[in-house]
Symmetry: C2
DNA sequence: GTCTATAGTGCGATAGAC
DNA sequence: GTCTATCGCACTATAGAC
Protein backbone atom coordinates (compact mmCIF):
# COMPACT_ATOMS: atom_id res chain seq x y z
CA UNK A 1 0.00 0.00 0.00
CA UNK A 2 1.24 3.46 -0.83
CA UNK A 3 1.19 6.31 1.66
CA UNK A 4 -1.31 8.18 -0.47
CA UNK A 5 -3.73 5.25 -0.45
CA UNK A 6 -3.33 4.88 3.30
CA UNK A 7 -3.96 8.52 3.92
CA UNK A 8 -7.15 8.46 1.91
CA UNK A 9 -8.34 5.21 3.46
CA UNK A 10 -8.05 6.08 7.14
CA UNK A 11 -9.61 9.57 6.98
CA UNK A 12 -7.92 11.17 9.94
CA UNK A 13 -8.20 14.89 9.40
CA UNK A 14 -7.95 16.96 12.56
CA UNK A 15 -11.63 17.79 12.06
CA UNK A 16 -12.64 14.11 12.12
CA UNK A 17 -10.62 13.59 15.27
CA UNK A 18 -12.05 16.64 16.99
CA UNK A 19 -15.63 15.67 16.18
CA UNK A 20 -14.87 12.40 17.95
CA UNK A 21 -13.45 14.27 20.90
CA UNK A 22 -16.35 16.72 21.07
CA UNK A 23 -18.90 13.91 21.24
CA UNK A 24 -16.83 11.79 23.59
CA UNK A 25 -16.30 14.60 26.09
CA UNK A 26 -19.72 16.26 25.88
CA UNK A 27 -20.01 16.00 29.67
CA UNK A 28 -17.06 18.23 30.52
CA UNK A 29 -17.21 20.61 27.54
CA UNK A 30 -19.42 23.57 28.36
CA UNK A 31 -20.14 24.48 24.74
CA UNK A 32 -23.24 22.85 23.29
CA UNK A 33 -23.29 23.75 19.61
CA UNK A 34 -21.24 21.18 17.66
CA UNK A 35 -20.36 23.61 14.88
CA UNK A 36 -18.72 26.08 17.21
CA UNK A 37 -17.29 23.45 19.55
CA UNK A 38 -15.54 21.40 16.87
CA UNK A 39 -14.16 24.48 15.13
CA UNK A 40 -12.56 25.69 18.34
CA UNK A 41 -11.33 22.25 19.32
CA UNK A 42 -9.52 21.95 15.99
CA UNK A 43 -7.95 25.30 16.72
CA UNK A 44 -7.02 24.32 20.28
CA UNK A 45 -5.48 20.94 19.43
CA UNK A 46 -3.55 22.27 16.46
CA UNK A 47 -2.15 25.02 18.65
CA UNK A 48 -1.40 22.71 21.58
CA UNK A 49 0.43 20.20 19.39
CA UNK A 50 2.33 22.95 17.61
CA UNK A 51 3.47 24.61 20.81
CA UNK A 52 4.26 21.28 22.48
CA UNK A 53 6.31 20.27 19.47
CA UNK A 54 8.29 23.50 19.72
CA UNK A 55 8.86 23.78 23.44
CA UNK A 56 7.10 20.94 25.25
CA UNK A 57 3.70 20.75 26.89
CA UNK A 58 5.07 21.61 30.33
CA UNK A 59 6.71 24.76 29.04
CA UNK A 60 3.63 25.83 27.11
CA UNK A 61 1.59 28.24 29.24
CA UNK A 62 -2.12 28.85 28.99
CA UNK A 63 -1.17 32.35 27.88
CA UNK A 64 0.82 30.89 24.98
CA UNK A 65 -2.17 28.78 24.04
CA UNK A 66 -4.47 31.78 24.30
CA UNK A 67 -2.23 33.82 22.02
CA UNK A 68 -1.81 31.00 19.47
CA UNK A 69 -5.52 30.15 19.25
CA UNK A 70 -6.76 33.71 19.43
CA UNK A 71 -9.11 32.61 22.23
CA UNK A 72 -9.14 34.21 25.65
CA UNK A 73 -8.09 32.39 28.81
CA UNK A 74 -11.72 32.24 29.89
CA UNK A 75 -12.86 30.71 26.60
CA UNK A 76 -10.18 28.00 26.80
CA UNK A 77 -11.39 26.95 30.24
CA UNK A 78 -14.83 26.21 28.87
CA UNK A 79 -13.35 23.46 26.68
CA UNK A 80 -11.36 21.66 29.36
CA UNK A 81 -10.94 21.92 33.10
CA UNK A 82 -7.21 22.65 33.00
CA UNK A 83 -3.90 21.60 31.45
CA UNK A 84 -4.14 18.18 33.03
CA UNK A 85 -7.38 17.31 31.24
CA UNK A 86 -6.10 18.65 27.94
CA UNK A 87 -3.15 16.27 28.29
CA UNK A 88 -5.43 13.35 29.04
CA UNK A 89 -7.65 13.94 26.02
CA UNK A 90 -4.67 13.97 23.67
CA UNK A 91 -3.23 10.77 25.12
CA UNK A 92 -6.53 8.88 25.02
CA UNK A 93 -7.33 9.91 21.48
CA UNK A 94 -3.86 8.92 20.25
CA UNK A 95 -4.03 5.47 21.82
CA UNK A 96 -7.58 4.87 20.61
CA UNK A 97 -6.79 5.74 17.01
CA UNK A 98 -3.63 3.65 17.01
CA UNK A 99 -5.54 0.58 18.20
CA UNK A 100 -8.30 1.10 15.70
CA UNK A 101 -6.09 1.69 12.69
CA UNK A 102 -3.60 -1.10 13.38
CA UNK A 103 -6.41 -3.57 13.88
CA UNK A 104 -8.31 -2.60 10.75
CA UNK A 105 -5.14 -2.70 8.66
CA UNK A 106 -4.11 -6.15 9.87
CA UNK A 107 -7.37 -8.06 10.29
CA UNK A 108 -7.26 -9.50 6.79
CA UNK A 109 -3.54 -10.21 6.57
CA UNK A 110 -2.73 -13.56 8.12
CA UNK A 111 0.42 -14.80 6.40
CA UNK A 112 3.29 -13.88 8.76
CA UNK A 113 5.68 -12.25 6.31
CA UNK A 114 2.93 -10.21 4.69
CA UNK A 115 1.59 -9.38 8.12
CA UNK A 116 4.97 -8.13 9.32
CA UNK A 117 5.31 -5.91 6.27
CA UNK A 118 1.79 -4.55 6.71
CA UNK A 119 2.38 -3.87 10.40
CA UNK A 120 5.63 -1.99 9.82
CA UNK A 121 4.11 -0.02 6.97
CA UNK A 122 0.87 0.83 8.77
CA UNK A 123 2.62 2.00 11.89
CA UNK A 124 5.01 4.22 9.95
CA UNK A 125 2.24 5.65 7.77
CA UNK A 126 0.05 6.31 10.79
CA UNK A 127 2.86 8.05 12.66
CA UNK A 128 3.37 10.16 9.55
CA UNK A 129 -0.28 11.20 9.27
CA UNK A 130 -0.47 11.91 12.99
CA UNK A 131 3.10 12.99 13.56
CA UNK A 132 2.41 15.64 16.22
CA UNK A 133 0.27 13.23 18.25
CA UNK A 134 2.93 10.52 18.20
CA UNK A 135 5.78 12.86 19.01
CA UNK A 136 3.72 14.37 21.79
CA UNK A 137 2.83 10.98 23.29
CA UNK A 138 6.48 9.91 23.31
CA UNK A 139 8.06 13.06 24.68
CA UNK A 140 5.43 13.99 27.24
CA UNK A 141 4.89 10.58 28.86
CA UNK A 142 7.40 11.39 31.57
CA UNK A 143 5.30 14.36 32.68
CA UNK A 144 2.15 12.30 33.06
CA UNK A 145 0.68 11.27 36.38
CA UNK A 146 1.43 7.74 37.56
CA UNK A 147 -1.79 6.31 36.12
CA UNK A 148 -1.41 7.97 32.74
CA UNK A 149 2.16 6.73 32.52
CA UNK A 150 0.94 3.22 33.13
CA UNK A 151 -1.54 3.60 30.31
CA UNK A 152 1.16 4.85 27.94
CA UNK A 153 3.41 1.94 28.83
CA UNK A 154 0.61 -0.52 28.19
CA UNK A 155 0.13 1.07 24.77
CA UNK A 156 3.82 0.66 23.99
CA UNK A 157 3.88 -2.95 25.11
CA UNK A 158 0.69 -3.73 23.23
CA UNK A 159 2.23 -2.67 19.93
CA UNK A 160 5.42 -4.52 20.72
CA UNK A 161 3.47 -7.68 21.52
CA UNK A 162 1.79 -7.42 18.15
CA UNK A 163 5.19 -7.65 16.46
CA UNK A 164 6.38 -10.37 18.80
CA UNK A 165 3.39 -12.54 17.93
CA UNK A 166 3.99 -12.12 14.22
CA UNK A 167 7.62 -13.10 14.63
CA UNK A 168 6.69 -16.18 16.65
CA UNK A 169 4.17 -17.18 14.05
CA UNK A 170 6.68 -16.73 11.25
CA UNK A 171 9.20 -18.82 13.12
CA UNK A 172 6.62 -21.55 13.61
CA UNK A 173 6.06 -21.67 9.87
CA UNK A 174 9.79 -21.78 9.17
CA UNK A 175 9.94 -18.37 7.48
CA UNK A 176 12.08 -16.84 10.19
CA UNK A 177 15.07 -18.31 11.96
CA UNK A 178 15.10 -19.04 15.67
CA UNK A 179 15.92 -15.93 17.63
CA UNK A 180 14.67 -13.90 20.59
CA UNK A 181 11.33 -12.60 19.33
CA UNK A 182 10.77 -10.21 22.19
CA UNK A 183 14.12 -8.50 21.70
CA UNK A 184 13.64 -8.43 17.94
CA UNK A 185 10.24 -6.82 18.40
CA UNK A 186 11.81 -4.21 20.67
CA UNK A 187 14.39 -3.37 18.01
CA UNK A 188 11.73 -3.08 15.32
CA UNK A 189 9.76 -0.75 17.57
CA UNK A 190 12.85 1.39 18.09
CA UNK A 191 13.21 1.76 14.31
CA UNK A 192 9.57 2.74 13.93
CA UNK A 193 9.90 5.32 16.66
CA UNK A 194 13.01 6.83 15.14
CA UNK A 195 10.93 7.86 12.16
CA UNK A 196 8.72 10.23 14.12
CA UNK A 197 11.31 11.22 16.71
CA UNK A 198 13.94 12.31 14.17
CA UNK A 199 11.85 13.50 11.31
CA UNK A 200 14.05 16.58 10.89
CA UNK A 201 16.91 14.25 9.98
CA UNK A 202 15.08 12.20 7.37
CA UNK A 203 13.35 15.25 5.99
CA UNK A 204 16.67 17.02 5.56
CA UNK A 205 18.03 14.01 3.68
CA UNK A 206 15.02 13.76 1.41
CA UNK A 207 14.00 10.34 2.76
CA UNK A 208 10.23 9.87 2.56
CA UNK A 209 8.07 7.55 4.61
CA UNK A 210 7.68 4.97 1.85
CA UNK A 211 11.41 4.75 1.31
CA UNK A 212 11.97 4.44 5.03
CA UNK A 213 9.32 1.72 5.29
CA UNK A 214 10.84 -0.24 2.40
CA UNK A 215 14.25 0.01 3.98
CA UNK A 216 13.17 -1.08 7.45
CA UNK A 217 11.29 -4.04 5.99
CA UNK A 218 14.26 -5.10 3.92
CA UNK A 219 16.67 -4.70 6.83
CA UNK A 220 14.51 -6.60 9.29
CA UNK A 221 13.78 -9.42 6.87
CA UNK A 222 17.45 -9.81 6.05
CA UNK A 223 18.14 -9.99 9.78
CA UNK A 224 15.64 -12.71 10.63
CA UNK A 225 14.93 -14.70 7.48
CA UNK A 226 15.57 -18.37 7.61
CA UNK A 227 18.09 -19.23 4.90
CA UNK A 228 19.08 -22.59 6.34
CA UNK A 229 15.96 -24.69 5.90
CA UNK A 230 14.33 -24.62 2.48
CA UNK A 231 11.68 -22.10 1.54
CA UNK A 232 8.97 -24.05 -0.16
CA UNK A 233 8.00 -22.06 -3.20
CA UNK A 234 7.95 -18.70 -1.46
CA UNK A 235 8.62 -15.51 -3.43
CA UNK A 236 11.28 -14.65 -0.95
CA UNK A 237 11.98 -10.99 -0.47
CA UNK A 238 9.58 -9.71 -3.07
CA UNK A 239 6.88 -7.29 -2.11
CA UNK B 1 35.19 -6.65 26.12
CA UNK B 2 32.90 -7.16 29.10
CA UNK B 3 30.97 -4.35 30.73
CA UNK B 4 32.96 -4.79 33.92
CA UNK B 5 36.25 -4.34 32.08
CA UNK B 6 34.91 -1.30 30.28
CA UNK B 7 33.70 0.29 33.46
CA UNK B 8 37.06 -0.16 35.11
CA UNK B 9 38.98 1.05 32.07
CA UNK B 10 37.20 4.36 31.46
CA UNK B 11 37.07 5.59 35.08
CA UNK B 12 34.04 7.82 34.91
CA UNK B 13 32.85 8.25 38.47
CA UNK B 14 30.77 11.35 39.08
CA UNK B 15 33.69 12.63 41.14
CA UNK B 16 36.12 12.35 38.20
CA UNK B 17 33.65 14.14 35.96
CA UNK B 18 33.03 16.92 38.48
CA UNK B 19 36.74 17.50 39.04
CA UNK B 20 36.98 18.05 35.29
CA UNK B 21 34.06 20.45 35.42
CA UNK B 22 35.44 22.33 38.42
CA UNK B 23 38.75 22.98 36.70
CA UNK B 24 37.20 23.74 33.33
CA UNK B 25 34.77 26.29 34.74
CA UNK B 26 37.05 27.90 37.32
CA UNK B 27 36.24 31.32 35.83
CA UNK B 28 32.51 31.27 36.58
CA UNK B 29 32.53 29.21 39.78
CA UNK B 30 32.89 31.51 42.78
CA UNK B 31 34.20 28.82 45.13
CA UNK B 32 37.98 28.51 45.15
CA UNK B 33 38.78 25.47 47.29
CA UNK B 34 38.73 22.35 45.11
CA UNK B 35 37.77 20.03 47.96
CA UNK B 36 34.61 21.93 48.77
CA UNK B 37 33.83 22.82 45.17
CA UNK B 38 34.01 19.29 43.82
CA UNK B 39 32.06 17.83 46.72
CA UNK B 40 29.20 20.23 46.12
CA UNK B 41 29.32 19.84 42.35
CA UNK B 42 28.92 16.07 42.73
CA UNK B 43 25.93 16.77 44.93
CA UNK B 44 24.47 19.30 42.49
CA UNK B 45 24.86 17.18 39.35
CA UNK B 46 23.55 14.03 40.99
CA UNK B 47 20.51 15.95 42.18
CA UNK B 48 19.97 17.71 38.85
CA UNK B 49 20.17 14.50 36.86
CA UNK B 50 17.93 12.69 39.31
CA UNK B 51 15.26 15.38 39.27
CA UNK B 52 15.51 15.80 35.50
CA UNK B 53 15.10 12.06 35.05
CA UNK B 54 11.97 12.12 37.18
CA UNK B 55 10.22 15.21 35.91
CA UNK B 56 12.38 16.96 33.33
CA UNK B 57 14.84 19.82 33.61
CA UNK B 58 12.25 22.45 32.72
CA UNK B 59 9.91 21.30 35.44
CA UNK B 60 12.67 21.13 38.04
CA UNK B 61 12.69 24.39 40.00
CA UNK B 62 15.68 25.88 41.76
CA UNK B 63 13.76 25.26 44.95
CA UNK B 64 13.55 21.54 44.12
CA UNK B 65 17.27 21.52 43.54
CA UNK B 66 17.89 23.37 46.78
CA UNK B 67 15.81 20.84 48.70
CA UNK B 68 17.43 17.83 47.04
CA UNK B 69 21.02 19.02 47.51
CA UNK B 70 20.49 20.49 50.97
CA UNK B 71 22.13 23.70 49.71
CA UNK B 72 20.42 27.08 49.90
CA UNK B 73 19.35 29.02 46.81
CA UNK B 74 22.19 31.46 47.42
CA UNK B 75 24.78 28.71 47.62
CA UNK B 76 23.61 27.16 44.35
CA UNK B 77 24.04 30.47 42.55
CA UNK B 78 27.71 30.55 43.46
CA UNK B 79 28.29 27.41 41.36
CA UNK B 80 26.54 28.57 38.20
CA UNK B 81 24.94 31.75 36.97
CA UNK B 82 21.48 30.23 36.47
CA UNK B 83 19.56 27.25 35.11
CA UNK B 84 20.75 28.02 31.60
CA UNK B 85 24.42 27.64 32.50
CA UNK B 86 23.76 24.46 34.46
CA UNK B 87 22.17 23.03 31.33
CA UNK B 88 25.12 24.04 29.20
CA UNK B 89 27.68 22.43 31.49
CA UNK B 90 25.85 19.11 31.43
CA UNK B 91 25.56 19.12 27.66
CA UNK B 92 29.20 20.03 27.05
CA UNK B 93 30.54 17.46 29.47
CA UNK B 94 28.40 14.71 27.96
CA UNK B 95 29.52 15.45 24.42
CA UNK B 96 33.17 15.75 25.43
CA UNK B 97 33.25 12.43 27.24
CA UNK B 98 31.46 10.65 24.41
CA UNK B 99 34.00 11.88 21.87
CA UNK B 100 36.93 10.95 24.09
CA UNK B 101 35.70 7.47 24.98
CA UNK B 102 34.58 6.47 21.50
CA UNK B 103 37.86 7.57 20.02
CA UNK B 104 40.03 5.82 22.60
CA UNK B 105 38.01 2.61 22.25
CA UNK B 106 38.23 2.54 18.46
CA UNK B 107 41.67 3.90 17.64
CA UNK B 108 43.29 0.46 17.58
CA UNK B 109 40.51 -1.46 15.88
CA UNK B 110 40.77 -1.13 12.12
CA UNK B 111 39.15 -4.25 10.66
CA UNK B 112 35.58 -3.21 9.75
CA UNK B 113 33.62 -6.04 11.32
CA UNK B 114 35.60 -5.87 14.54
CA UNK B 115 35.31 -2.09 14.47
CA UNK B 116 31.54 -2.22 14.10
CA UNK B 117 31.24 -4.60 17.04
CA UNK B 118 33.52 -2.42 19.17
CA UNK B 119 31.59 0.72 18.26
CA UNK B 120 28.21 -0.78 19.14
CA UNK B 121 29.55 -2.25 22.35
CA UNK B 122 31.38 0.90 23.46
CA UNK B 123 28.41 3.14 22.83
CA UNK B 124 26.04 0.89 24.74
CA UNK B 125 28.46 0.44 27.63
CA UNK B 126 29.09 4.17 27.81
CA UNK B 127 25.39 4.98 27.81
CA UNK B 128 25.01 2.47 30.62
CA UNK B 129 27.77 3.99 32.76
CA UNK B 130 26.48 7.50 32.12
CA UNK B 131 22.81 6.71 31.76
CA UNK B 132 21.43 9.88 33.37
CA UNK B 133 23.65 12.10 31.17
CA UNK B 134 22.56 10.36 27.98
CA UNK B 135 18.90 10.35 28.87
CA UNK B 136 19.15 13.99 29.82
CA UNK B 137 20.88 14.97 26.58
CA UNK B 138 18.24 13.21 24.51
CA UNK B 139 15.12 14.40 26.30
CA UNK B 140 16.16 17.97 27.00
CA UNK B 141 17.58 18.93 23.60
CA UNK B 142 14.26 20.40 22.53
CA UNK B 143 14.42 22.89 25.41
CA UNK B 144 17.86 24.13 24.46
CA UNK B 145 18.54 27.47 22.83
CA UNK B 146 19.05 27.48 19.08
CA UNK B 147 22.84 27.27 19.29
CA UNK B 148 22.84 24.47 21.87
CA UNK B 149 20.41 22.51 19.74
CA UNK B 150 22.76 22.84 16.83
CA UNK B 151 25.58 21.46 18.94
CA UNK B 152 23.48 18.51 20.04
CA UNK B 153 22.54 17.72 16.46
CA UNK B 154 26.16 17.82 15.39
CA UNK B 155 26.95 15.36 18.17
CA UNK B 156 24.24 13.02 16.94
CA UNK B 157 25.36 13.23 13.34
CA UNK B 158 28.99 12.75 14.32
CA UNK B 159 28.25 9.41 15.96
CA UNK B 160 26.08 8.37 13.05
CA UNK B 161 28.83 9.24 10.59
CA UNK B 162 31.21 7.05 12.54
CA UNK B 163 28.94 4.07 11.89
CA UNK B 164 28.36 5.05 8.29
CA UNK B 165 32.10 5.11 7.62
CA UNK B 166 32.56 1.67 9.14
CA UNK B 167 29.75 0.29 6.99
CA UNK B 168 31.24 1.82 3.85
CA UNK B 169 34.62 0.39 4.67
CA UNK B 170 33.14 -3.06 5.30
CA UNK B 171 31.33 -2.89 2.00
CA UNK B 172 34.53 -1.94 0.22
CA UNK B 173 36.21 -5.02 1.62
CA UNK B 174 33.30 -7.24 0.62
CA UNK B 175 32.26 -8.10 4.18
CA UNK B 176 28.94 -6.31 3.89
CA UNK B 177 26.47 -6.33 1.06
CA UNK B 178 25.61 -3.22 -0.94
CA UNK B 179 22.97 -1.19 0.84
CA UNK B 180 22.25 2.36 1.95
CA UNK B 181 24.93 2.95 4.59
CA UNK B 182 23.50 6.21 5.84
CA UNK B 183 20.09 4.70 6.49
CA UNK B 184 21.63 1.61 8.04
CA UNK B 185 23.69 3.80 10.35
CA UNK B 186 20.54 5.67 11.35
CA UNK B 187 18.81 2.40 12.25
CA UNK B 188 21.79 1.23 14.30
CA UNK B 189 21.77 4.52 16.16
CA UNK B 190 18.07 4.10 16.88
CA UNK B 191 18.77 0.72 18.45
CA UNK B 192 21.57 2.13 20.59
CA UNK B 193 19.34 4.93 21.77
CA UNK B 194 16.52 2.59 22.68
CA UNK B 195 18.78 1.06 25.30
CA UNK B 196 19.03 4.20 27.37
CA UNK B 197 15.61 5.60 26.53
CA UNK B 198 13.70 2.46 27.58
CA UNK B 199 15.86 1.09 30.31
CA UNK B 200 12.81 0.43 32.46
CA UNK B 201 11.65 -2.09 29.86
CA UNK B 202 14.89 -4.02 29.56
CA UNK B 203 15.50 -3.87 33.27
CA UNK B 204 12.05 -5.30 33.96
CA UNK B 205 12.77 -8.16 31.56
CA UNK B 206 16.14 -8.93 33.07
CA UNK B 207 18.03 -8.02 29.91
CA UNK B 208 21.52 -6.68 30.72
CA UNK B 209 23.69 -4.44 28.63
CA UNK B 210 25.98 -7.24 27.46
CA UNK B 211 23.09 -9.36 26.30
CA UNK B 212 21.57 -6.37 24.51
CA UNK B 213 24.89 -5.58 22.85
CA UNK B 214 25.35 -9.19 21.70
CA UNK B 215 21.86 -9.20 20.29
CA UNK B 216 22.16 -5.91 18.42
CA UNK B 217 25.47 -6.99 16.92
CA UNK B 218 24.03 -10.31 15.81
CA UNK B 219 20.91 -8.70 14.37
CA UNK B 220 22.80 -6.01 12.49
CA UNK B 221 25.37 -8.40 11.10
CA UNK B 222 22.65 -10.76 9.92
CA UNK B 223 20.98 -7.82 8.20
CA UNK B 224 24.01 -6.59 6.28
CA UNK B 225 26.43 -9.46 5.87
CA UNK B 226 27.39 -10.42 2.40
CA UNK B 227 26.40 -14.02 1.77
CA UNK B 228 26.52 -13.83 -2.01
CA UNK B 229 30.18 -13.30 -2.78
CA UNK B 230 32.64 -15.57 -1.01
CA UNK B 231 34.12 -14.73 2.36
CA UNK B 232 37.80 -15.45 2.10
CA UNK B 233 38.69 -17.40 5.22
CA UNK B 234 36.88 -15.13 7.62
CA UNK B 235 35.58 -16.47 10.93
CA UNK B 236 32.17 -15.23 9.97
CA UNK B 237 29.86 -14.36 12.83
CA UNK B 238 32.16 -15.36 15.65
CA UNK B 239 33.17 -12.87 18.27
C1' DG C 1 -20.00 31.88 24.08
C1' DT C 2 -16.47 34.96 24.72
C1' DC C 3 -14.36 38.68 26.85
C1' DT C 4 -11.51 41.51 30.59
C1' DA C 5 -9.76 41.87 35.09
C1' DT C 6 -7.80 40.00 38.95
C1' DA C 7 -6.91 36.78 42.93
C1' DG C 8 -3.58 33.79 44.63
C1' DT C 9 0.58 31.01 44.03
C1' DG C 10 5.27 29.82 42.97
C1' DC C 11 9.08 31.01 40.28
C1' DG C 12 14.31 32.77 39.28
C1' DA C 13 17.43 35.63 41.04
C1' DT C 14 19.84 38.82 44.36
C1' DA C 15 21.35 41.52 48.59
C1' DG C 16 23.32 41.44 52.71
C1' DA C 17 23.92 39.04 57.33
C1' DC C 18 26.93 35.72 59.43
C1' DG D 1 31.13 29.71 51.72
C1' DT D 2 26.54 29.53 53.08
C1' DC D 3 22.39 31.33 54.84
C1' DT D 4 17.77 34.06 55.22
C1' DA D 5 14.78 37.41 53.43
C1' DT D 6 12.72 39.48 49.76
C1' DC D 7 11.79 41.62 45.02
C1' DG D 8 9.45 41.50 40.75
C1' DC D 9 7.43 38.63 37.46
C1' DA D 10 4.66 34.95 35.08
C1' DC D 11 1.73 31.53 35.92
C1' DT D 12 -3.19 28.86 36.55
C1' DA D 13 -7.65 29.54 37.33
C1' DT D 14 -11.94 32.07 38.20
C1' DA D 15 -15.59 35.83 38.56
C1' DG D 16 -18.48 38.69 36.39
C1' DA D 17 -19.41 41.98 32.38
C1' DC D 18 -21.23 41.80 27.77
Amino acid sequence: MTFREFRKLVELSTEDICTDIFRGNAASIKIKKERVGVRNLVNIFNATLKLSLEKGFQAMSMRDLSRETGLSMGALYSYFSGKEELLEIIQNQGLLITYRVMQSQLENVKEPRERLRAAVRSHLYLSEVMHPWFYFAYMETRNFSREKQKKAIQGELHTEKLFEDILEQGRGEGSYRATNSQLTAALIKAMLQDWYLKRWKYSRRGVGVEQYADFVIEFVEAGIKNDVSGNMGGDHGSN
